[in-house]
């Protein structure tokens, strides 16, 4: 067929595209390598103080030590699981409250100014209060994570509910649908993409909550390692924990993004 005959021009186009993509990735990797190399060299020649700024080779040593006694897995595992519980419960609770607001316009109108204020309030300011009320336990950390993500979830999911195609709702009404049926057959399913994208935002937010919570509770987790390392001036430990945190955050974000892509393909 005509379309199957790839012209020389098209081949060149595809080649140029691949080349461009390849050079972007190579530059990205090079930048990372350069950063760590510069850091290492600068510390080695004492341009910077490795005691304060740490050093890649020291970070590597720290990672090896932490792996040997297994504590790296414990702390990372704790932070990751707290985060997952935090963003899942924040998303679920937020969605449930959004359903309530959708159900009763009166409640939605009444709560509107409160939600706006709560949304603007930096939730981390509530940390000490939560610590006093709930105590220095894992629950405090999860509540922190939940609190930080729940308001955004309510606002975003409610917005998605409200922007559901009115004609689709009308179609259901002509078929004699009840309010519950309108919710389950059209409003919720058409808001799934919005809920997933909120989930993506919540991964980051919940992680902020967890780290702040771990700073305050100071028992375990990467946040604890960071605050502890800072207090006893072990900057290697701090840098190591931050790096692990960055990787863990990226992996969690990417898995939700992957899940989103899968889901969108299905629809």
């Amino acid at each position: 067929m005509y379309n199957n005959v790839v012209s020389k021009e098209h081949q060149e186009f595809v080649k140029a595209h691949k080349l461009r993509k390849g050079s972007i990735i190579i530059t990205q990797i090079a930048l990372l390598v350069l950063f760590f190399a510069l850091w290492e060299i600068a510390a080695h020649y004492k341009w910077i103080d490795p005691f304060i700024m740490s050093q890649p080779s020291r970070v590597l040593k720290t990672i090896i030590n932490l792996t040997k006694d297994g504590s790296i897995f414990t702390h990372t595992g704790i932070t990751v699981s707290e985060t997952i519980i935090g963003f899942l419960s924040g998303t679920i609770l937020g969605t449930i409250i959004a359903i309530l607001l959708w159900w009763s316009e009166f409640i939605a109108k009444v709560l509107d100014p409160y939600l706006v204020v709560l949304n603007a309030l930096p939730k981390t300011a509530l940390g000490p209060i939560i610590l006093v009320w709930i105590g220095g336990t894992v629950s405090s950390i999860i509540v922190m994570a939940l609190l930080i993500s729940v308001i955004v979830t309510i606002l975003n999911v409610y917005l998605a509910f409200e922007s559901c195609d009115e004609d689709k709702v009308k179609l259901l009404r002509t078929l004699g649908a009840s309010k519950l049926q309108i919710l389950t057959k059209v409003v919720l399913p058409s808001s799934i993409p919005a809920i997933i994208s909120v989930l993506k935002i919540n991964v980051g937010l919940s992680l902020v909550g967890v780290i702040v919570g771990e700073f305050l509770v100071s028992r375990a987790g990467l946040g604890y390692l960071i605050i502890y390392g800072g207090q006893v001036f072990k900057m290697d430990l701090v840098m190591t924990s931050v790096l692990i945190l960055a990787v863990a955050a990226a992996l969690m974000y990417l898995s939700v993004a992957w899940f989103e892509k899968k889901l969108n393909k299905m629809r």
């Binding site: 259901l172 002509t174 057959k185």
Partner: protein
Amino acid sequence: MVEKVVEIKNVSMNYHTLSGETRAINNLSLDINNGEFVSIVGPSGCGKSTLLSMISGILKPTSGSILVNGEPVVGPSSNVGYMLQKDHLFGWRTVLKNATLGLEIQKKLNKESQAYVEHLLDEYGLSEFKHHYPKQLSGGMRQRAALIRTLATNPDILLLDEPFSALDYQTRLAISEEIWLIIKKERKTAIFVTHDIAEAVAASDRIIVLSSRPAEIKNIHDIYLTCDLKTPITCREAPEFRHYFNKIWKELDVHV
């Protein structure tokens, strides 16, 4: 014997918003007979959709009454099927699941009704697409799927609110012919709102011309076209076609 399936008696409708009151329908009376194909034409915003919404039972008239099959309309009923401007197939449901939506909502989904829907999909050329998602269908197929969703609950009366206006002209001609044939084959009464005069003349037994808002009946035309195969496309060739077209065009009195 002619049997009235829809009786609209002295119906008026006012909309209330904070900026004021809008009278959409003014003291309108109209009967629709069993098996008829009636078109409603009128200037945009005159109250055509409002009228259909009241017949379907999702909107209550301010005054007057509407009877369907002799019974007053109190809410949506499975006797009346409504087709909206766009197909509104749900992207997250397969064609089959879209088609059974009404049955699901009315809690009538069982082996028998499911078989009926599959029969309709077979009959109207969608059986091999029944497990496909709507985005894999062409515009015409989507409209057919939407009609089958409406037919699934087996209503006697179909309300069609400019169902083809989102389609391009070529598709529109073809699909309106197809849908017309399906409606005739299934022996449904159809109330068809359109802004396309030619489409209305070609398809209808009767055309109701509405005035601008508040809608009142301006004129009613019984359409008699001499053509062999009485289908919309062939009827466009009938000698009387232009005559009806021009008359209705003048009555609509479009100023640009």
